[in-house]
Subunit: 239 residues, 2 copies
DNA sequence: AAGTGGTCTAGACCACGCG
DNA sequence: GCGTGGTCTAGACCACTTT
């Protein structure tokens, strides 16, 4: 019972949109009516509507009302939302995801890694290269650097599953990430493990992720076959 | 005086972070102190802090305090934030941006365009291909489709500048967009206008943008040289 | 135990769209 | 003029971290 009201109400309204109870283009009940239905204050309703607007599901017009967006971006399996960094296991389910470890090593960080992970030059980092497969198909090749001091007992058995699940189990809370998306040429690893051809384009996602206390804990480069994955972003100016 | 307080306070706190008055890693004054300093309620302060947290500038820990993020992502010129779709002119300034029109045509929409722009098959659309240059260097090649009925007097003179500025002048308010980012091969246009080589990777951004009333008004494919541009996303779980 | 941020309320006033 | 959403308040209670 400690999940906040605004989370539950957001979920409920999202459900109503998805199952057609609030059809695309239709007007939602006004904020006072929603307050009354859910027995919350109008401020709480407003907070929920703001969150849904950010996700591109609804929009509001002052003096008029709140509407369900037409043409809601369809969720396609090949599409990863560019926000939300929980990892493949959550997205596809553990049954369909498999990991192969190409490299598991420990080393001193390069100047670039020192800067990204906020480390001194003698703080060891794990260097990991993992191939991740979905339904037995190569999906993404991840080059990951993580500070050893944050997770001294990381080992290969963890890497066969989800690093995020491991972090949760250690009590480390992850909080945010910063990602940069490029197009690049396939390199030798991509050719070998993603079955790319030389000169194929690859979608590379460079990421720095940090914990709830602001400590950066991961620097990674995720390399995706050009025909296997894309990233989506929803942008909203109405707030 | 109709800019809301929360906008001004957000700007002020961002300035303090940028000029070092609130150094990276330091603790901010608590919410009560900020309420008092800015003469607003704590709710308003909280709203501001949430917004800054979403942008990855600060983070809060219940029971402890609010801190300035260490390692704040620096803005690099080659980096477009993946949110904010205002266009190049605002980003670089009109002096540095130039547009060349490769194609300006009107046609009936393909089934795909009909669906994306929510059109009937006899609603004409403009088809535009523009090469945009920054500092005389080819920067992005945009393939754009826009419904004629929304902007009946669009012509080439508009296209030499900023479409967004034109929309503003017509009273149409744009509100949001949905983007999908891929890596693809260079095509004949990219080779000719972006000076790509055959088989070069290209970063393609597929976008649907809509107006404040939810009407989709633009479907576009922006194609960027692999070495010229990347997209950045900040993600935050703390809310 | 004290101090912090997270949630929520019950109102108020304002700006805007519409008939 | 009326109904709508946008902003803002002054407080309350709770969950959490720290000492």
């Amino acid at each position: 019972m400690n999940t906040p009201k605004y989370v539950k109400i957001e979920q409920e309204i999202r459900n109503r949109i998805e199952n057609g109870e609030y059809p695309q283009g239709s007007k939602l009940p006004n904020q006072l009516a929603l307050s009354s239905e859910f027995s919350v204050s109008r401020m709480t309703v407003k907070r929920v509507l703001d969150a849904l607007a950010i996700q591109g599901l609804i929009y509001s017009r002052r003096g008029d009302g709140t509407y369900v967006m037409t043409n809601i971006p369809q969720k396609i399996e090949k599409n990863a939302p560019a926000s939300e960094h929980q990892g493949l296991t959550v997205y596809f389910g553990a049954d369909r995801v498999e990991s192969r470890i190409i490299v598991f090593d420990i080393q001193f960080p390069s100047p670039q890694i020192q800067e990204k992970l906020h480390l001194r030059k003698n703080d060891p980092v794990f260097k990991i290269i993992r191939l991740r497969l979905v339904d037995q198909q190569p999906y993404v090749l991840e080059h990951t650097y993580m500070p050893q001091k944050l997770m001294p007992d990381l080992d290969e058995s963890v890497l066969y599953g989800s690093i995020y699940a491991y972090l949760k189990s250690t009590g480390l809370k992850l909080s945010g990430s910063y990602r940069k998306i490029h197009a690049v040429f396939a390199d030798e690893f991509d050719i070998k493990y993603l079955n790319c051809s030389p000169k194929d384009p690859v979608l590379e996602v460079e990421q720095v992720a940090w914990l709830a206390d602001g400590t950066p804990f991961e620097y990674s480069l995720s390399r995706n076959r050009y025909d296997a994955r894309s990233y989506t972003v929803v942008d909203n100016n109405t707030l």
